[in-house]
Each structure stands twice: as C-alpha cells, then as structure tokens.
Amino acid sequence: MIAVLLAQTIAITGGTVYPVSGPKIANATVLIRDGKIAAVGTGVAIPSDATRIDAAGKWVTPGLIDGGGQLGLVEIGAVAGTREASLQGDTIAAAFNVTEGINPASAVIAVTRIEGVTTVLATPTGNLVSGQAALIDLDGATIEQMVVKSPAGMVLDDSESGKDYAGGSRAGLADRLRRVFRDALEYERRKVDFSRAQIQPLSAPARDLEALLPVLHAQEPLIAYANRRSDIATALRLAREFKLKLVLAGAQEGWEVARNIAAAGVPVLVEPLDNIPSYDALGIRYENAALLARAGVKVALMETDTHNSRNLRQQAGNAVSYGMAWDQALRAVTLSPAEMFGVADRYGSLEPGKVANVVVWSGDPFEFTTGVEHVFIRGNEIPLKSRQTELFERYKTLPPKY
C-alpha cells in the first residue's frame, strides 16, 4: 500500500496555506508528488491524475516537529522492558545512539501523528553525556524508513541531574566535560599512539571520544539541557572555548540571560508550559519562550511528555498566550527545529522540493476547537486511526462488542 501511495500525486486545494518560509497564502494549492512537495501557491496547475483534497476553509501547515521526548524509545513509562532511552552505567555515553532502540511498532506513534505531529527528536536521557538523538518521521515499517537524521545531535545534561554523574558538583561537571573534550581531541591527534598504548589513560573510552569528534568539529550540534542561569552560562562558555555548535534545551531561566544567548547565536529548545520552580530553576516562568524570542534567540518548542507529544500545539498556543507572536510559534514547531537539527533543506516548511509532511487542520492548529483532517508524511496520507480510536469505537456504545 505504501508503494502505491508513494506514486500518487495529491493536490490539497482551496485552503489557507502557511508555508512558514513565507507569508500565508489564501485559497492556495499544495501539490505533492512522489513524497515531495511539488508546488505551493495560487494558480498551481493540477495534473489530471492528482487526487484532490478539498481544503476550503481549512488551514494547511507543515507537519509539526517536536524537539524533545522519547517517542519510539519508551512505550510504557513504568515498564523498564519497554524503555530504550537511557544507557545505564555509562556517564559519558557519547557513542550511544538511540536509533536502533526505536520501535516502529510503538502504539504511541499513531496516537501522535494523527494529531499533526509528524516528526520528533527521539532523545536519549540520563548520564552526563546522554548520547546521540535521532530525528524521525512518525511513519515507516522499519527504523531505516523512519529516520530523518541520525545522529541529529549529542545530548548533554548540564542541569542539576547531570552533576550527579560528575561527582555532585556543577564545577566538577564542567571540569569533567573539559577533560573529556580535550581528551577526544588528543585522541584524534594521536590515534596511533593510542593503539600502541603510548598515551596517558583517557577520561572516556575511545569509542565515546570518537563519537564526540563531530561535535568538537561543529559538524553535529551539542544539545545541552541546562536550566539554571549559571548552568546556561557554563554551556555558553564551553561552547565558546571549544567552538561548538550549541543548542540549549530546557533553558528554564533562559529569559534572564536572553541577550547573552542571542549574542552567542545559540538557539534554544523550550517547553513553554514549564513553570514549577525548583532549585534548578527558581526563575522559571511561562513567558520564557516569548522573552527569548523577543531578544532575538531562535526558539523551537518541545513537549517532553512522550505520550502526549500531540500536545505540542497546546505548548505553542500557550507560548502565544504568554507573549510569543503566532507566526513565531508556528515557526518554533516547524522550521526552527528543522534548522537546529540541520534538516531545514528538507523539512520544516512548505516549499517545492521539501519532504511532503503536511497537515490539514479544521482551523488554527493551536486552538482546542481545531481538529486534524488530513496528515501526510512523506506524501503518504496517514489513516486517522490509532489504538485510542479503536478503543473509542469499541466502547462508544455499551456493552461493547468484543
């Protein structure tokens, strides 16, 4: 069936199209061919063999991209046998790439994509260096079919929980990272000496140092979870020292140092509905996303509750409610995360040549009244079914039919 659909040409007509890369276009067509976007705009010639989707009165956007969570890596939170996101007992788990832990059969995938989230960052957790995250599309029978980019970033826990893996002090955490980074560069310079055991013992296994090299050469982003203002400063300092391509994540007190973050040109992954104070972020507040954006920081959003990644649009709507411009919020769940993860040439906007991840909404995607009418992932129309719709169908009249 997938092969048949791939060959299809689909014309979504008459909707208000939000390309994100440009202003909205009323009464426009989005033409999809062979899994890619072929044309966007008014006056698009519609081939006679195209399947037409009438989107009059509807809103058409790129599929949403969730920049956080463990989708595909955690099936049932409390069941260890279904969790793949954390490598136990490996403080510097740089060589740990989550990709082969992804379960294409996860029930969470369908629950999520039928509400408009088509792409997620499957993010490793735990440890000081948690490992390599993978950006995946929420469709495909195999991991290979799902992967958009892997690794999409190296994840570091530069927060209160991270220091537990570095002797219990934030200063120790920074020192440990510096040693590891320097050793990785040393290892790269002296691989031959290493293989002959003519080098001092290194602060992490060779395979982890090797995995850090793309990060240290700024080819792969370092996604640093940091919340306290001082921890954000530490991440910025390390990025400066080692010339890293840094992405801050969480950044709950980021608004307090928004100008510094903007000056460093560092983008930030924010969960807008974070506002419960802890000693890791006493300054946490709803306005964080808006204040960062206002300072000129590139902001992408995440919903870290893996099973409710679908609430990414509620996160975005609340970001708007607390001061972010609506257009910025839409960009923050589409093009901005695509840019952060290095896939903006293929993802994040409705432009010819890009992958056809497209959602047709009944209205404003951030509003509760709005439902998803059509979802396309790589040009395939996704049936709006999940384990949850099946449960509903079974029990909508009682007694159920088994």
Partner: protein, 476 residues
C-alpha cells in the same frame, strides 16, 4: 514532568476523598456525649475540637462585573451580562443588575465570567515545590493502611505552586495524600487563598475525604515489604481494615449511647474508617482500570458505604453505564495515558462518554502544572467528544471543572455555580475560557480579589519566592 515521575514512582498520584458539605456544619466526628457523663467526656480528646478551620472571609467591597459573558454553570451563557457579589455572596446574575453605590465596578467588555474552578485532586502543599525530599510529605508509605494521617498536617501554605494555581482561576482544592497506600489518609478541603496556616484555608464545614488507591501503586510499594503484592492482596487489605472498623464503630456507638464503663480505646486509624462507615466521610478512590472499579463498588456495597468518585479513572468509559447507575463521579484527565500499564487505555473522549452515559465526569489535575489550566484541559476533553460525535455542551464542560468537583467534595450547594446565594468564587477571563488564548485576569475567592493579572498588588507571592525568584514581570 515531575508529576509523571511521582506517578511512576508511586509517590504521589492518588485519590482521596471529599466530604459531604451542605449549608449546615458537619456533625462532630462522633456523637456528642450524653449529659450524664459530661465530666468524663470533658477529659477526652475525642470530644474536643479537632483541628478546626480558622478561615475568615476577607473584607471587601461589593463588586459588579458588567458587560461580560456570564457562564453560570447552570445552563446559561448570558451575553452582555452582569454579576453582583457582596459580603462573599453572589447577589444577582443577569442581563441587568443594579449596583450599590459603594460597589467596585469592573468593565467586562469582551471578557467571560465563570465560577471559581475546583480541583478535586491536588497535591499542592503536600508535594510542594521546590520538590526536594524536605517537601515530600504526601505519602506516609510506612504501612499500606494509614487512615490515621491527615493531609492538612503535611500541607505547607508557602508552597510557591499555590499562587500559580490561583492565577489559573482555582478557588477550591482537595489536597490529598498520595497513592502509595491502600488507604492513604484524610484529604484537606481548602479555599485557595494566601494564608499563614492551613487552618486559615480549611473550607468551613467541609467534611473530610478518605483517600484510597487501587492497582499498581500499593502493590509496587509494598510488594517486597510485607505486602500487598497483588491486586487480590489489595482487596484483602481494604476488607481487613474495614472489618476492624466495623467492630470499632459498634463499640463506640454503643458506648456513646449508654456510657457504661470506660470508653473504648481511641484508635485514630479506625476512627477515620468508622466515619466512612457512618457516612460522614466519602471515599474517593484512585482507580484506573474498569474491572478494579467494579471490584471497589462491590467492596463499598459489602461495607455499606458509597464511593464518591473514582480518580484517574482512565478506563471509566468502559463501565460508564455502571458508574452512572452507582452515582459515583469520575475524576479524569483530558488525555494523560501511557505512563504505566494501568494507564494504557486512556482515551480523550473519556469524560464525554461518561457524560453521554448519564454519569458525572469532571476534570482533575493531580499536577501542579495541570491545575493552572483546568479550563484548557476541559476544552480538550469537550472538543475531543464533539469531534467524535458526542454532543457535549459548553455548560457541561464548564461543570466538569466547577460544580461537578464541588459535588464530589459535597460543596455543590455552596460553590460551583454562579447563582444568588452562592459563595462569591468568581473568575474573570480575558476571553472564552475554552480558547487557548484566554487567561484568568481576575480571581475572586469568597468575594476577595486574590489575583489580578493587571495589578501586581494582587499577585500574591509566597515567602519561598522572596529574594530568590524574580517577581513576575520583572527583568534581571
């Protein structure tokens, strides 16, 4: 996602109980002593006031909100309407309301007014922020049956999560012990107002609830600590406790009648359970799975009490008919699921299906984050139902976060709707409360303006925040 962590660890997520509270005060925990033994009774702790409420209404001028859309939670949505409240009571609601000369007049143009929101499942104050071990006071996980503990004895009024919930339009909460135990202890029914002591927050006259928990949490917590280790062990644990309580109740009730000999020895655990058996305290029950709810209903029938609400009832839609017939409300989330096996069958139409079956659904939070946007959660649950073809009205959805939880606490004749005579718990919203872009702009609790988004003088901050968290609106 600290809340989910609690759930995973079984340290929090719970259900508790609420009280029946009508306009008259609740009876004392046990019957009043007979005159003949007055002298003896005077020497007994059981006959003295038990941690009484010291709540006092904050003095405030009459308030008239006019030109607003008034959502009464009684079936009306009045365009260009007005509401007048005075001395903590709603005086009038309608299209035209005359204001007394001394009334503070609020222009409600473009705004919406609803009753104060009520969360019947909160751990504010007992799992306070900043969430360290020092504030972890929600689970007395030392025995599977701890009916003797009271949530109010853990409650910290300086929890910085409290002002956040107030800003979300919450005026009343039930603060519950966690769900580690089969029987976790008494709940606290509180007015959500700034206060120095929990006594100043205790809802006057509200009866206590009893928190009970089904399923995974108790057996996980006690499975390697002497049990229960199974769901059948859970059931045996409840039955054993209530069997003892039956005997205890009979002994005390008999002694109260004739005062022959020494009174029975006081047992705080059984005293609470005996109150459930007397019908003075409603059981509210953390219970996810449909089949377990049916077991708990049988348990309640065996011992002659009612379960007032099933909390976290993610599978309640599967037995919505049974629950409607039983008259037990269902306290649910809009869309939480998947964090453990007993939460795998959650669907977004749960509240709607219970409504459709004639039941009494409501949206609860169990979360310091979710409590700040019960209106949004209700909106999600309503539209999920509507999109699936279940005709949920805006009034019904509003009742999910107002008068239905009020009923669960036994307070529905006092709060939960905008009607003359009811307590002036009133929220003014910037727009339609079911829109994601709307926020509470004013919150009145018993007529007192406890929150005003436009006025820092009415944005309470806890002691905890002073000098270490930037004030809202400030910039470093």
């Amino acid at each position: 996602m600290r809340t989910l962590l609690y759930l995973t660890l079984g340290l929090s997520a719970g259900c508790a109980a609420a009280g029946v509270r009508q306009a008259t005060p609740a009876p004392a925990p046990a019957a009043a002593p007979a005159a003949a033994s007055q002298a003896a009774a005077e020497s007994m702790s059981v006959d003295r006031a038990q941690y009484p409420s010291t709540y006092r209404r904050h003095p405030n001028p009459p308030v008239l909100i006019r030109n607003a859309t008034i959502m009464t939670a009684t079936g009306q949505e009045i365009r260009n309407g007005s509401i007048l409240f005075k001395d903590g009571r709603i005086v009038a609601v309608g299209e035209k309301v005359d204001a007394p000369a001394d009334a503070a007049v609020v222009d409600g143009a473009g705004k919406y007014v609803t009753p104060g929101l009520i969360d019947d499942h909160s751990h504010l104050g007992v799992y306070a922020a900043p969430g360290t071990e020092a504030e972890s006071d929600g689970n007395e996980a030392t025995n599977p049956v701890t009916a003797e503990v009271w949530a109010e004895h853990s409650f910290w009024p300086q929890d910085p999560q409290i002002p956040l919930a107030i800003a979300g339009g919450i005026t009343t909460i039930q603060a519950l012990p966690g769900s580690a135990n089969l029987i976790g202890g008494r709940s606290a029914i509180l007015k959500l107002v700034p206060a120095r002591t929990v006594q100043e927050m205790k809802f006057p006259g509200a009866r206590y609830g009893l928190k009970m928990a089904c399923g995974e949490n108790p057996k996980r917590v006690y499975g390697r600590r002497g049990g229960p280790a199974t769901r059948m062990g859970n059931m045996a644990g409840y039955r054993s406790a209530f069997t003892q309580a039956e005997t205890y109740r009979r002994r005390w009730d008999t002694w109260r009648k004739d005062h022959k000999g020494d009174p029975p020895e006081r047992n705080l655990r059984l005293e609470t359970l005996a109150e459930v058996l007397r019908g003075n305290m409603y059981v509210q029950n953390h219970c996810y799975r449909a089949d377990e709810m049916a077991q708990m209903i049988d348990l309640a029938h065996e011992f002659g009490f009612k379960i007032r609400s099933f909390h976290h009832a993610v599978e309640s839609y599967k037995i919505a008919d049974l629950l409607a017939k039983e008259g037990t409300s269902v306290s649910v989330w809009a869309d939480w699921w998947g964090f453990k096996e007993e939460a795998m069958d959650g669907i977004q139409q749960n509240a709607a299906l219970n409504q459709h079956a004639g039941g009494r659904p409501l949206i609860h939070s169990d979360s310091p984050s979710g409590i700040q946007r019960l209106n949004q959660e209700a909106a999600k649950a309503m539209y999920a139902g509507v999109r699936a073809g279940i005709p949920i009205t805006r009034d019904q959805a509003l009742r999910w976060i107002t008068v239905n939880p009020a009923w669960t606490l036994g307070l529905d004749s006092i709060v939960g709707t905008l009607e003359p005579g009811k307590m002036a718990d009133v929220v003014v919203w910037s727009g339609d409360p079911f829109s994601i872009y709307s926020k509470a702009v004013q919150v009145y609790n018993d007529g007192w303006l406890v929150y005003d988004r436009a006025d820092a003088a009415h944005q309470p901050r806890t002691d905890f925040e002073l000098g270490r968290a930037p004030a809202p609106g400030s910039d470093r």
